[in-house]
Subunit: 242 residues, 2 copies
Amino acid sequence: MNPTVDLLCAHRSIRRFTDEPIPDEHVRTAVAAGQMASTSSAVQAYCCIRVRDPESRAQLAELAGPQEKVARAPAFFLICGDTRRHRLICDRAGQTYDQKLEAFLVSVIDASLFAQNMVVAFESMGYGICYIGGIRNNLPAVKRILEIPEGVYPLFGLCVGKPAETPVRRPRLPIDAVLFEERYCDDDAVTSIDAYDAQYRDYLASRGAEPRSWSESIAHRMTHASRLNLGDFYRSQGAVLD
Amino acid sequence: MNPTVDLLCAHRSIRRFTDEPIPDEHVRTAVAAGQMASTSSAVQAYCCIRVRDPESRAQLAELAGPQEKVARAPAFFLICGDTRRHRLICDRAGQTYDQKLEAFLVSVIDASLFAQNMVVAFESMGYGICYIGGIRNNLPAVKRILEIPEGVYPLFGLCVGKPAETPVRRPRLPIDAVLFEERYCDDDAVTSIDAYDAQYRDYLASRGAEPRSWSESIAHRMTHASRLNLGDFYRSQGAVLD
């Protein structure tokens, strides 16, 4: 179609990186591109923290899995929803910050749009990336290690570096499973994915992972609640989830 | 830097569109590019609904503001977090879907990464876009109009079309306000934005809007809670927010 669409469609998460360092200039280019993503009414409710210190990286790698790549990737960022500046501005104006779930939701959406633009920018410069949801395993520890204050909501990590592997494409659901016309339609939401289930099993086998269908993976995952204390943590950071 | 970074940095939200229709092939290319964004453990917790029906579009435009562009843009999509397929898969397996805030959060992040890739793909094909948070003004009505079932969380809309305007760039916060090293630092979070406040006031004036600094805009917005029933709505759709 065009080089940018080709780039987006060529995405694979990269879990092994070369040791080649990332020039600060490339990091700043990617973050600046992230900032140009849309943001709800320009609130820019996000930030990212680049962590270089080996001891912090080792602690984050441990609590995220352990996931060795969090310690070893040439760059690691923590991406946060951030309402702190908004709160400080209200304080300075002698007014009371007063928000509900909307503000938390906006911070999660804003931070995700920002991060995805960063990712596309990094990939366009020849880097590979992997999002790290595992930092949500232990957010109180993340808060302590990176000195996260009230109003800031750590959401996920991001590993970046030059790829040292060329993984095969992880197959996605058929497009008509996620693109509806006029109204929501799940008439064949489950029955239509038999072919995808088989594709997904083959994909896992090709990676040397336990071959399971996508449905089996989902049923396993969704019948076991995980990360049980997220609500308490984000509330303790000042989020209102109602 | 490179054409993709240039494209990301050239983003402006587009609010007026030509009447030129968007070929279905371009929509499918953008959605397929969206699907290649990272997704937490491949759960793909999102969907989008393309709304063409003029009556539905008029109703959505009304509740979103009113915002005429929601009725008139060549294409309008509703972007949703989607856990419905996961629930149906658990049902089929005779097991109980059991998730907490983590699943809602993953659906919001997944849907946002998906949408931002769609946006970058559309922009690379010469289209302009505008995210529509205004659909959160009245989610029960959105649910009724588009027949949104349990397990699906409408998050925002997306207008797409060929631009009929060339807006100036909306200035963003200084990069060092959102990129931290090693730990969170807000030592000069508020005082460092005086220059940005002036820039932002000039930007609003250049658009013919009421000239306010960014701090004034934020203080005004953040001291008035909005969209007060989001928590109730998402819970009624089956989300657990704890």
